[in-house]
Each structure stands twice: as structure tokens, then as C-alpha cells.
């Protein structure tokens, strides 16, 4: 379980995460004990989000490099486990995909 208070653990590693945004590409550093969305916001990048629970799909992005994230804390945003390259703003594509597969897709 990730800390509630943004505490930095002694064991945390930092990964490079590249975000492909509608306005271009930006690279941020994300610790393994923080969520990608939080790190982006701290870097001045406001990614789409609504529920902040990993439920509504507004924050959906596509991993492009086969990178690894820790989904055990999937009630929120995934912490990185490797360098990542993420195509952001994928909520409509994610909803369409989930609808096709008979999975819950809120707001669709």
C-alpha cells in the first residue's frame, strides 16, 4: 500500500516517464513510491482525471514501450516500475475498448 502522506521511502527508485500530450512530448521523473499523475501535476502538467480512483477512465493512457507499472494500488494512479512512455488522453479509446469487451465503461 502506498503512503497517504507523500512520504518518500528510503528504497524508492526514480524512473523517467515520457508523456505524449496533445501539445507535444514532456519528460518527468517519477519515484517508484509515487503516482504518475501526482508527479505530473507537481511538474506542472495537468493530466485528465475525475474520480482519482482508477474507476471512471478519464485518466486513461496507453503504455507504448511495454514498460511496467505497479497495479496493486489500482484504486489510484500507478507508480512506475520501469522507464515509461505513455500516450495520454485515451479515455474515449479506453471506453470504446471496454464497451467492445463487455466491461464497465462509466460515462459512455
Amino acid at each position: 500500500m502506498l503512503p497517504y502522506n507523500g512520504h518518500v521511502s528510503a528504497q524508492s527508485t526514480t524512473f523517467v516517464v515520457t508523456l505524449l500530450l496533445p501539445g507535444g512530448e514532456q519528460t518527468i521523473q517519477v519515484r517508484s513510491d509515487e503516482h504518475i499523475w501526482d508527479a505530473a501535476l507537481a511538474a506542472g502538467i495537468k493530466l485528465p482525471a475525475l474520480c482519482h480512483q482508477g474507476r471512471c477512465l478519464t485518466c486513461a493512457g496507453r503504455l507504448l514501450n511495454g514498460g511496467e507499472v505497479d497495479q496493486s494500488d489500482s484504486a489510484s494512479y500507478y507508480p512506475p516500475r520501469s522507464p515509461l512512455r505513455i500516450l495520454t488522453n485515451q479515455q474515449e479509446q479506453m471506453r470504446a475498448y471496454r464497451r467492445q469487451h463487455g466491461l464497465p465503461a462509466p460515462y459512455s
Binding site: L50, C51, H52, Q53, G54, R55, C56, A75, P104, A105, P106, Y107, S108
Partner: protein
Amino acid sequence: MPRKEVVVKHGDVSKRVGVEVIRARGVDVDKLLKILIANAAAEFASTYYYYTILRMHLAGYEDYKEICEDARLEDRAHWELIVPRIYELGGELPNDLKEFHDQAGCTAAKLPDPPTVVNILTLLMESERCAIRSWSAVCDMTFGKDPRTYDMASRILNEEIEHEAWFIELLARERDGKVIPSGHFRRGEPGHAPYSKNAKFYNP
């Protein structure tokens, strides 16, 4: 982008002036309906239903149980408030309960494992936070364009903000031994809902 207002002809019952005017003022009515249905599902399925179970498991913590009960019944009042507006805007609820449940924009507040009081209070607090975010989105979509939906959303938002403050107060004390006052706890009978139920504009 605001659309040109559609003329609703004399005697035409296929269109609603009440919808066309807000569309012309820039509201994406289809998107608004999706959000209202998602929020109705969250109030009814993700919270009202599951808070019933959470409240049962607060056995022995009678003060927490009472506060959970207020939040539970107020979420039910929100559901009652939202549904008429969905139909009024030309939308409808899915005629299948599972389909409706799956539209919820917030995670179901299922009994945590283990169901400790700290875990339950954490879940309640995070559920209220999702509700605040969801209703703020409706306020943003409708402010200055759709006063009726905005009025409803802001009333609900008022109560969700109070709920979050209550659960912060309770969790901070229970988990961290800290005093973080909510600033208020003012309710009459259970389910008082001072903003949404007792000032409602529909189904009086």
C-alpha cells in the same frame, strides 16, 4: 461551442425548449446526461447501497455509525434529486440494474478487508472525495448556462463537502490521534439533507 437555438414549433412535443435553450448556451446535453447518469449510479449503487453495509460494520462505534447514516441517507436524497432531472433533459436510466451499476463514475464502497473502523472511515472519506470531484465537474459544465442543473449539483456538492469534512475529522482522530475539526456537524433527524432534500424542487 454554443449551437444556434433550435426553433420549437407551436404544439411540438418532440423537442423541449428547456433543453434547447441550454444547448444553445453551450451545454453538451448528451455529455451532461452521461455524467448525471454516472453520478446517479454512484449515489445509489456505489454509496447508498454499500454505505448500508459499512454502517452495519461500524457496530460498537455508535457515533461513527450515526454519521455514516446521515451520509448514507443524504446520498439517497441526491439520487432522488438527480433522476427527475435526467428525464427532464430527455435522458433515461438503463433498464437493467447491473448496467446502471457499471455506469457509476466512482468505485463501489465495498466492505474493506479487514473491515476495521480505520479502513471503513478511509473508504468513506475517499468515496466522498470522488463525489466532490464528480459534482464539481457538473458545476463547471453548467455554470452560467444551465441554472437548474447547476442549482441541483451545487446543493449536492454542499453536502458531499460536509461529508468529507466529517470523515476527515473521524479518521484523523481514530487513525492518527489528531484533532482536525470538520467545522460543523449540524443535522436534525437522520437523512436531514439540509441542502438537497429540505430545499428540493421536485417530488416535494
